[in-house]
């Protein structure tokens, strides 16, 4: 029995040490993932808390993952974020204040700011699946296999989504350059 399965077995028995290990391993990544969508520390913390609360409820109801715990946790978090945007559809996603450039910025900083804004706008124009794959792959840093487990899609479908997502991003940014 590998480490993750052993950890999950103990977590199902509500072993506090096992659960603490899970929390410490995955909560920072979930926080960052939520921050990239929500751009709000409080909301991101709320997302983390709700994600791990749902995990406990799943264990309590004799459900939850037998393996691939990380994918399971990311899926919970993403569902929570999706629900959040459905509840408050006017909230901006991706565009974040923490990418604001300080007042005493250089020319390079200004160029970086414009580029980041263009990427964020382009990301916002993607389909939900494309956006999620791009964020998980290039921002969150997960592998295709992990993403396929989170999205419950074959790896080939994940790669296709990445390809089409990047192409859409490039096209959007090229269109922006022409306009400017």
């Amino acid at each position: 029995m590998n480490t993750e399965q052993n950890l999950l077995k103990q977590a199902r028995q509500f072993n506090v040490e096992a659960l603490a290990e899970i929390y410490d391993s995955y909560s920072p990544g979930i926080f960052r993932y939520a921050m990239r969508f929500l751009s709000d520390e409080i909301l991101a913390e709320e997302c983390v808390a709700e994600t791990f609360h749902r995990l406990l409820q799943a264990f309590k109801n004799r459900k939850g993952p037998e393996e691939h715990l990380q994918a399971y946790i990311y899926r919970i978090a993403h569902n929570w974020i999706t629900d959040h945007f459905r509840r408050t559809p006017n909230q901006p996603s991706i565009l974040s204040e923490y990418h604001e450039i300080p007042v005493e910025s250089t020319e390079g900083d200004t160029f970086r700011k414009v580029e980041l804004e263009a990427i964020q706008v382009a990301l916002h124009s993607l389909t939900e699946d494309q956006r999620q794959v791009i964020i998980l792959k290039y921002i969150q840093g997960l592998s295709n296999e992990e993403i396929s487990k989170i999205l419950r899609k074959p790896i080939g479908a994940v790669k296709a989504l990445q390809s089409r997502g990047l192409e859409a991003l490039r096209r959007r940014m090229h269109e922006k350059e022409i306009k400017e």
């Binding site: 990239r36 808390a49 309590k60 980041l116």
Partner: protein
């Protein structure tokens, strides 16, 4: 890769978005504490032995893969309980109903059923006595709420009391008859006391009639207590008369029918038991003007004389063959019976012949009564 350079630029640009502010340590610690606290609470509230408990419930639930084979007797018992369980509840609820309630017919049906399955006369008497007490209480309750009891309830009340008297007459010996009559007298007096206490502003006439009826029945019982032998003998006479009336092979000689001559002739057991308002009561024993029924002749029946239907063999017999079978045309003609309510007759049983009664109102109407000597309607 076709878009490798540009994709590399994009990926590099996307990588810049990885930068997020550091997580607040205090908030992170608080979130961790809450998470572990919740885990401890769940662990303490729910035992870890889920599986055995779950399997135990599954084992006793109906949703098993292979349900327990129920014994045949248990199946029958279950069906009986399902079918009659609700009926039993309805019957129980009906026992406190009043005549204007929807469940009252159920109550009466229950009473009839109990009387029908009574093992012997004494058991039937006890039941009839109990049911008569119910009628008294029903009348009282209806009067208390300002309603007049239906006539059908009064009729049933009277029938039950008469049934009590009849069954008391059937007791096997004098001592048991006396014991029963004492009990009946006590019950009737109790019912009369209930009626006396009943407010009669709405049902004054009804209460009065009920009390008269109770007094009449009480009088019969008092007479029975004075001479229990004759009281019981009267029942035997009635049974004998009924048997003679029913049997078509009975002798037609009038000299062999002394009981017929006594019915309606001032019978002491029926003298005091009229139905109030029904015209039912003792005969006047003054039947000089009546047209007597000539039993055994068959030639003087006013409803059949002279009205034969061709080919039907219906008509006056020759009157000379007393042993002939009625209906053959050679024996006695049908005897008219008198309905309760006749002026002179005093039949104590419906359908009982009234040998000294007026032939008015014959129950068997002839096809073409052309000579109505009795003056009654055919």
């Amino acid at each position: 890769m076709k878009y490798e350079p540009k994709d590399s630029e994009l990926i590099e640009a996307l990588g810049q978005l990885r930068e997020v502010p550091e997580r607040n340590i205090a908030r992170a610690a608080e979130g961790r504490r809450i998470f572990l606290e919740e885990a401890r609470n769940i662990r303490n509230s729910v035992s870890n032995r889920h599986d055995p408990r779950l399997k135990k419930w599954i084992s006793i639930s109906l949703f098993r893969k292979e349900p327990i084979k129920m014994p045949t007797f248990a199946v029958i018992l279950l069906i009986v309980a399902l079918v009659f369980g609700s009926t039993g509840a309805t019957v129980a609820a009906a026992q406190s109903s009043l005549p204007d309630d929807a469940l009252y017919p159920v109550k009466l049906l229950t009473e009839d059923a109990r009387l029908g399955i009574a093992g012997n006369d004494e058991a039937g008497l006890q039941l009839a006595l109990e049911f008569s007490s119910r009628r008294a209480l029903e009348i009282q309750k209806m009067a208390q709420i300002g309603k007049e009891p239906p006539i059908s309830v009064l009729a049933r009340y009277q029938n039950q009391l008469e049934q009590v008297v009849r069954l008391a007459q059937k007791m096997p010996d004098d001592s048991s008859a006396i014991a029963v009559m004492i009990q009946v007298r006590q019950q009737i007096m109790e019912q009369d006391r209930i009626m006396a206490q009943t407010p009669n502003n709405q049902a004054e006439g009804t209460i009065k009639r009920v009390r008269e009826m109770l007094q009449n029945q009480l009088q019969v019982i008092e007479l029975g207590l004075e001479d229990p032998t004759q009281f019981r003998q009267q029942a035997r006479m009635k049974i004998q008369i009924q048997t003679m009336t029913i049997s078509p092979q009975q002798p037609t000689n009038s000299s062999q029918q002394p009981p017929r001559q006594t019915i309606g002739a001032g019978n002491p057991w029926t003298t005091g038991t009229p139905t109030p308002g029904s015209g039912y009561g003792p005969g006047t024993n003054d039947c000089a003007g009546c047209t007597p029924t000539k039993v055994g002749n068959g030639g003087n029946n006013p409803w059949t004389t002279g009205t034969p239907t061709p080919g039907s063999s219906y008509g006056p017999g020759p009157g000379s063959n007393p042993s002939a079978t009625p209906g053959t045309g050679a024996g006695p003609g049908p005897q008219p019976t008198v309905k309760p309510g006749g002026q002179n007759g005093n039949p104590t049983q419906p359908g009982q012949i009234a040998t000294k009664s007026s032939p008015q109102n014959p129950t068997q109407a002839p096809p073409q009564p052309t000579q109505g000597k009795g003056g009654g309607k055919p």
